[in-house]
């Protein structure tokens, strides 16, 4: 189905050529799952995978061009909802995300930034994505990940951490290949400020035309790649914009090639396999049905607090 091409990128003898490449277990385009006015593709969970490492959920908020006179969305309670048992990570490619939660956190994160929220034992948040007031691109484009928490951390109090673009560690790739940003986890000397509760990674790789990036996978980790903007060649097979692929468990390299005329972006994420039971319902990810029931009960008992919409800060 996919165009398999002979690798034109490494004419010299390259160590990568002697290393096994990981096999791709499946690829999917996701399912339409719009929320309100946002056009969304649900990439994870999907019919092939329940989780990739600790990542249990990925929504792709599709790139959307907005007219300059379109009214801005406000954090006003219409989108408020609870979470428990996970951390949520919103990575903004284009736009400006406003966040308020029931523990009094409030921040605005601009294009290239991320906001991380540990729902822990229960929180209510409200979040909107508008066009970025600091750029002039009239675009919104984002991803939201849910990262499962180990059982003991599900019982801990919530936390929130906003990161602007310049607070996300970034490194240029050699040979003017582009750059890599470490949104979560670690890559070589770069480490994200986002706390890790298990071994996890979330990289944004920006690959210039004709360039290549490869990574030797760790045996204990699960990996997936997602192409939010353009096509890319992943381990020798062409994949289209919007595609999500996961790799098999075997050792090997993950290699991205950009054979197109422009740059491409790749989101590579995953981590250590989550070994406790996963029971997910609505906005909660817990370890048992009884805990899900308790999460609903605690919400209705008001234990997650309330978002204050009056405060101006």
């Amino acid at each position: 189905m996919y165009l398999s091409i002979i690798q034109p990128f490494a004419p010299h003898i390259d160590i990568e050529r002697f290393t096994m490449k990981k096999k791709i277990s499946f690829s999917t385009q996701g399912q339409r799952a719009d929320i309100g006015e946002y056009k969304i593709h649900r990439m994870l969970p999907n019919r092939y995978a329940e989780a990739v490492g600790p990542f249990v959920f990925l929504d792709h908020v599709l790139p959307t061009k907005h007219s300059p006179d379109e009214p801005l969305k406000k954090v006003n309670g219409t989108g408020a909802h609870p979470h428990r048992g996970i951390t949520t990570l919103t990575y903004i490619l284009n736009g400006e995300a406003d966040h308020k939660d029931s523990r009094g956190h409030h921040a605005t994160v601009h294009s290239g930034g991320a906001q991380w929220m540990k729902a822990g034992n229960g929180i209510i948040h409200d979040e909107v994505v508008n066009v970025d007031s600091q750029t002039n691109d009239h675009l919104t484009h984002a991803m939201q990940f849910w990262i499962n928490l180990p059982s003991k951390n599900k019982a801990e109090p919530p936390q929130y951490l906003p990161l602007q673009a310049n607070e996300i560690p970034r490194q240029e790739l050699g040979n003017r290949g582009g750059w890599i940003k470490v949104v979560a986890g670690q890559y070589e000397q770069l480490a994200s400020k986002i706390p890790n509760y298990s071994n996890q990674l979330l990289y944004h790789i920006h690959l210039e035309a004709g360039k290549q990036f490869s990574l030797l996978s760790e045996r204990e980790l699960e990996y997936a790649a997602f192409l939010p903007v353009n096509n890319a060649i992943i381990n020798d097979a062409e994949h289209k914009a919007g595609e999500f692929v996961t790799f098999d468990r075997g050792e090997g390299t993950i290699q991205f090639n950009n054979s197109s005329k422009g740059a491409t972006d790749i989101i590579l994420f995953g981590g250590e396999k989550y070994t406790e039971p996963i029971v997910a319902q609505g906005p909660f990810v817990m370890n048992s049905e009884a805990e899900i029931a308790q999460a609903y009960r605690d919400f209705h008992a008001g234990k997650y607090g309330e978002v204050s919409y009056n405060r101006k800060d």
């Binding site: 309670g77 219409t78 989108g79 408020a80 909802h81 609870p82 319902q281 609505g282 906005p283 049905e289 009884a290 899900i292 029931a293 308790q294 609903y296 009960r297 919400f299 209705h300």
Partner: protein, 194 residues
């Protein structure tokens, strides 16, 4: 009051409820009287309960910017009522639900459903059957609303739910079908002449 619910569950399952299951259902479903025009759920609230109607009639509707009501669901005895999106995802509802007749209902929380009801075999089977029926009905209604003429939409509705014509006023049925009162009235006159 719980007898009609117990009968309903048994009718939707091949494995009847045993005594202890009947007891837990009686314990979990809380009776509630909702008077005519009283709200069961208002826009902006989170839907805490799903309701099984023992007696009465209810409607679920959204209200647009101009104040016009759009009825998405009409329900009578042996129907379920609630905003499932809000009930499961705990988001503020975009709907209002109120009673059109004095209604006796049995209410259940999501927590009790998840913990106590869903492990019951008869309930799980009923839920699967209802999900199938609801999915099929929703597809039909969607197809009717985007491709049928007003005449055909009304005829299908009258054929599928004849009792609703007796229980709900014409303006509500018109709203449910997405047509004006005047169009509905013209169609009805025309169908009587035939």
């Amino acid at each position: 009051m719980h007898d009609s619910l117990i009968g309903y569950i048994n009718n939707h399952s091949t494995s009847p409820l045993n005594d202890s299951e009947v007891e837990s259902i009686k314990h979990i479903f809380v009776p509630k009287r909702i008077r005519k025009r009283q709200y069961f759920l208002q826009e902006g609230e989170v839907c805490k309960y799903f309701a099984f109607i023992v007696k009465g009639a209810m409607r679920q509707y959204s209200v647009d910017d101009k104040g016009v009501e759009h009825i998405v669901r009409l329900s009578i005895e042996n129907w379920w009522v609630g905003d499932r999106d809000s009930y499961v995802n705990l988001t503020p509802s975009v709907y209002n639900i109120d009673a059109w007749e004095d209604t006796d209902a049995l209410l259940v929380t999501r927590a009790d459903y998840v913990q106590t009801l869903s492990p019951i075999r008869a309930i799980a089977e009923m839920a699967r059957t209802l999900d199938d029926k609801y999915y099929i009905a929703t597809q039909k209604r969607l197809n009717a609303s985007i491709s049928f003429s007003a005449e055909k939409r009304y005829a299908e509705f009258a054929n599928s739910y004849p009792e609703f014509l007796q229980r709900f006023p014409q303006h509500m049925i018109a709203s449910y079908l997405g047509i004006t009162k005047e169009t509905l009235s013209r169609i009805r006159k025309h169908s009587i002449k035939k």
